[in-house]
């Protein structure tokens, strides 16, 4: 019971305070006080979430929607992982935004929706069955929309609409999968390893079920920017304010991943898919996305857009790790989820700092920027190395596990093809990230040192970046216990 109240508090506190902020826009004149209050709300939420994570696994019915259908919350390792990551990244992004949003107007609206989305995401991470998941998924789409079209320029609105329609279309593809499974008794709560194999209703309509699963994967994959419906990512990220795009690609894209995990490993069970055409299609799509995303990022000149493309490719690493349907792949996927969130948050924050301080957007302009803001660019460099996956950084570990998992599948081509693509894409990653740091530190001739002046941002912006960087590195150095936790989780869901 306490768990329920705590959960409700953790979910509703940010939502309500966000709504409060929206209703009283601009009423609170004292900006410092406001920022402190917002920070307190986020910190409190984070604390509550952590407290929730300390509970034993539980399952709570919030509301009986119909007889067979409940609004259900649940706590398990997956929830712990995602909720923990969410609140951390969200709080840090918020802190960063305190400084960044100074040069955007209507910051109250931004923070209001920021808090609302935080609450929704906590609900999403705790969702205990497909309907609850879907509910929070839609709410997340709708409430994160204002973050994208914050600036209300024409491009922003168009990008927002694009984001909205891709997400909604994907969600409805998934919704009818949900209805189908529900009619086959899958309105039931999640359970590790899924239960569709044991449902007698499943027998007979195997083909249909596979088709429906494919639809659900594609549908939820939309949020994760998987190939056929990835288009919204590179459009939406550049127009959003930097902290928003940081959490967009760091957390919100991952909610698609969470949804796919819940469907595949907690509802139908991996065995249903293993060896079916769905798995192959899924792997193929993931690999296509990985490669294509890196290529696009390599060609792209606008920094934030380049990062967005790289998100497309990196999130598909995770999807690929899931699609191989074995423990190592799972571990790789989950670890990559954490690492990529950390890294990509940090990268977008750096991009934000650069825009905030110098207003430079394209890569060419960044020559020598490392001289102006060394700490920032050092963070950038370190996390880039992590993302590329050079040992001993954390990216290396996750990619190692991914490759291993792909090798274990023993599916003819894929077993080898997967790692090759991953490797290629890693090189491309190096190709599109490292040059930035290099030319930013070694501008070469033509750079006028006399007009060089320090532009380091203040602590509000530095601390989040530093923390993210530290996390990225430290995870790489001492991954032991963390990996143990992940292996335990993977072992639960894949037998």
């Amino acid at each position: 019971m306490t768990a329920m109240y705590l959960f409700l508090a953790a979910m509703l506190l940010p939502m309500l305070s966000g709504l409060f902020l929206l209703f009283f826009q601009g009423k609170l004149k004292n900006r410092t006080l406001k920022c402190i209050l917002i920070f307190l709300v986020m910190a409190l939420t984070a604390g509550l979430t952590v407290r929730l994570m300390c509970f034993e696994d539980y399952q709570l019915v919030l509301w009986h929607l119909t007889d067979k259908l409940d609004i259900l919350v649940r706590m398990d390792n997956m929830t712990r992982l995602f909720a923990g990551m969410t609140v951390t990244a969200w709080t840090l992004g918020g802190v960063f935004a305190f400084e960044y949003m100074k040069h955007e107007e209507k910051e109250d609206r931004y923070f209001g929706f920021y808090l609302i989305v935080m609450g929704v995401l906590i609900g999403l991470d705790h969702a205990g069955n497909l309907i609850t998941l879907y509910l929070f998924f839609e709410l997340m789409t709708l409430s994160s929309l204002p973050l994208v079209l914050h600036t209300l320029t024409h491009d922003a609105v168009m990008a927002g609409l694009k984001y909205l329609f891709y997400s909604v279309a994907g969600a409805f593809l998934a919704l009818f999968g949900i209805f189908y499974l529900y009619a086959h008794g899958a309105g039931l709560p999640f359970c590790e390893g899924g239960y569709l194999m044991v449902l007698d209703a499943y027998s007979g309509s195997g083909k249909m079920t596979l088709l429906v699963l494919m639809l659900m994967i594609v549908g939820f994959g939309t949020k994760a920017g998987m190939f056929p419906l990835h288009g919204w990512l590179p459009t939406a990220h550049p127009v959003a304010p930097a902290p928003a795009s940081a959490v967009l690609s760091g957390i919100i894209t991952k909610s698609g991943v969470l949804a796919i995990i819940r469907v595949v490993f907690y509802t139908v069970g991996a065995d249903v898919l293993r060896g079916s055409w769905v798995q192959y299609t899924w792997m193929t799509l993931a690999l296509i996305t990985v490669f294509m995303g890196s290529m696009m990022a390599y060609k792209e000149q606008v920094l934030k857009k380049r990062l967005a493309y790289s998100t497309v490719s990196q999130v598909s690493y995770i999807l690929f790790g899931l699609s191989v349907l074995n423990q190592d792949g799972m571990v790789g996927a989950l670890s990559h989820f954490v690492f990529h969130s950390v890294v990509k948050d940090c990268l977008f924050l750096v991009a934000g700092v650069i825009i905030y301080k110098t207003g430079k957007k394209t890569v060419k302009e960044l020559t020598g920027i490392g001289k102006e803001m060394p700490i920032t660019m050092w963070c950038f460099t370190l996390v880039s190395i992590t993302l590329v996956g050079i040992p001993p950084t954390s990216g290396f570990i996750s990619k190692w596990y991914l490759a291993e998992g792909s090798l274990q599948t023993g599916i003819g081509g894929y077993a080898w093809f997967g790692p090759v693509v991953l490797l290629l894409s890693a090189m491309l990653t190096a190709g599109y990230l490292l040059p930035i740091s290099i030319q930013s530190f070694f501008p070469g001739e033509g750079y006028h040192y006399q007009e060089l002046r320090k532009k380091e941002p203040n602590l509000l912006m530095l601390i989040p970046m530093l923390l993210f960087t530290a996390a990225a590195v430290v995870f790489g150095m001492f991954p032991g216990r963390f990996l143990g936790f992940l292996q335990m989780t993977a072992a639960d869901v894949i037998r």
């Binding site: 929607l65 309907i131 509910l135 839609e138 929309l145 329609f165 909604v168 009818f176 189908y180 529900y182």
Partner: protein
């Protein structure tokens, strides 16, 4: 039945006649008094229907009320079961809220000396709705369908701008065609059964079907009655009058028309299916498949029309075309689950559509009465209540959980999965497509009214004062929407009970 009946059982009859009397008495008086009388009557009717509903639920059986001293098969009868009373309650509630919400505009749009006539129309419309819901006699059904049609036509054309006149004419023509088919079907039905009361006709009908007599006329009768009522309720190929009729009449009219009138014919059709012809016979005659096909077509084409629409009312009207398609699709699934879904969707649509119309009116009030989208830019900030109402309505129509639209979509989907094998896949696909189209046109409107970019200068500081009645109406419609979404289980159970009572 020689035992003295409970006094509550008089309420259906009273509510019907009360509305008529109110309409008659509103002839010589001023508009304001007529308005008060009408509101009073609608409230009374709501209370009485609710009381009857509780009574029927408590007794658990339907009851028959002989209009006059002669029992069936000689005299007229009305019959009140769970379903009828529930529908009557919801309909009168929606009627009340539509009136409250649009009252200011009624007084704006209609010349002052004709306002009492408008309320006459409203009263008689309500009485005919109730009679259609309660009737147990086919010919009574026909007579009140006519009253319903004429009253609806009057409510469209009372605002004498060109479009509403043309719309009324087209509506009238379509409905007359429907009535003609319905009437000839009725005459033939009487010819082969010799009864006009539903039960007796049903008995004879079963006999005939068993003996296999009159199979050809039976088929023709079924198809004529069905097609007639389908035309009157605006099923897809016959929807052409809808956009103008809903889009250009005063807002109360459009919300009442779209949410109640077109549904009442569907309810009569369902009653005839169950209580006269027998659902098995209906299924055996393949007529429901026709309904199914046209329903699916309507679901898609209505949404496409709504996407193409450049003006918010036409968009909402086209979405009603789509929703009626949903209802017929549910009927066409030939399963009881489908029927439950259809009836639940009737309730959902009644509530949501009136909410949407009121909201749209509120929005274009603060946009210089312009109806096209570009004028509505950011209007939700100028009229927050209407904005919220439109948001809730749209989300419900799109099918976000915890709102009523989601439940009806869920019911439809589950019903489809229980249906005949060849219908499952196509239904799911069309449902998905139409839902996505719904999302497209509703959400882009929501985004538009909530993005205050390039707000035209003249609208910058328009702030409309929402009257208490309108606020109350909108608020309670929103609440009903949430109630249907959150407490759907008992309602669906009651619908099932009601359908069971039909047979």
């Amino acid at each position: 039945m020689n035992l003295a009946r409970n006094f509550v059982e008089n309420f259906p009859c009273f509510s019907i006649v009360l509305c008529m009397v109110a309409g008659i008495l509103s002839t010589p008086i001023k508009g304001n008094h007529a308005k008060r009388i009408t509101l009073l009557v609608v409230i009374l009717v709501t209370c009485m229907s609710a009381a009857t509903f509780l009574y029927v639920v408590s007794t658990g059986t339907s009851f028959v009320y002989t209009m006059g001293k002669y029992p069936a098969p000689w005299g007229n009868e009305i019959r009140a079961g769970v379903l009828e009373t529930m529908l009557a309650t919801v309909f009168s509630l929606v009627m009340l809220f539509s009136l409250l919400g649009g009252m200011d505009h009624v007084f704006k749009d209609i010349p002052e000396e004709k306002i009492n006539l408008y309320f006459i129309l409203v009263d008689l419309l309500l009485s005919s709705l109730l009679a259609i819901i309660y009737t147990n006699d086919l010919f009574t059904g026909y007579v009140f369908v006519e009253i319903n049609t004429i009253a609806a036509c009057g409510m469209i054309m009372i605002r004498k701008i060109g479009r509403s006149l043309v719309a009324a004419t087209r509506y009238m023509v379509m409905s007359l065609i429907g009535s003609g088919l319905f009437l000839i079907g009725l005459a033939m039905l009487y010819d082969i059964t010799g009864h006009l009361l539903m039960e007796n006709a049903h008995l004879v009908m079963n006999q005939l079907v068993q003996e296999g007599k009159y199979s050809v006329p039976l088929l023709v009768i079924i198809s004529f009655i069905t097609v007639g009522l389908a035309i009157k309720s605006g099923l897809y190929p016959f929807h052409s009058w809808m956009p103008d009729a809903y889009g250009y009449s005063t807002v109360s009219s459009s919300s009442i028309l779209s949410s109640l009138v077109s549904k009442s014919y569907i309810i009569l059709l369902i009653k005839i299916f169950y209580r006269v012809i027998g659902f098995d016979n209906i299924v055996n005659s393949k007529i429901v498949d026709v309904l199914f096909v046209f329903g699916l077509a309507g679901m898609v084409m209505g949404s496409v029309g709504a996407i193409m629409a450049k003006d918010i009312y036409r968009m909402i009207a086209f979405s009603s075309v789509a929703q009626i398609g949903y209802v017929y699709m549910g009927i066409g699934l030939e399963t009881e689950a489908g029927m439950v879904a259809a009836i639940f969707h009737i309730l959902t649509h009644a509530i949501t559509k009136s909410l949407l119309f009121l909201a749209a009116k509120g929005l274009n009030n603060v946009s210089g009465r312009k109806r096209v989208f570009y004028a509505l830019q950011g209007s939700a900030f100028r009229n927050p209540l209407a904005g919220v109402a439109f948001l809730v309505g749209s989300l419900s129509m799109v099918g976000i959980p915890m709102l009523s639209g989601f439940i009806s979509k869920l019911l439809f989907a589950t019903a489809a999965l229980g249906a005949a094998r060849e219908k499952v896949l196509i239904t799911l696909i069309v449902l998905a497509v139409s839902t996505i189209l719904n999302a497209i046109y509703f959400l882009h409107t929501v985004v538009r009214i909530y993005t205050p970019v390039h707000v035209p200068e003249e609208f910058k500081n328009v702030h409309v004062r929402v009257s208490k009645g309108a606020a109350l109406a909108v608020f309670s419609l929103i609440c009903m929407n949430f109630i249907l979404g959150l407490l759907s289980q008992p309602i669906t159970d009651l619908i099932q009970v009601g359908i069971a009572m039909f047979a």
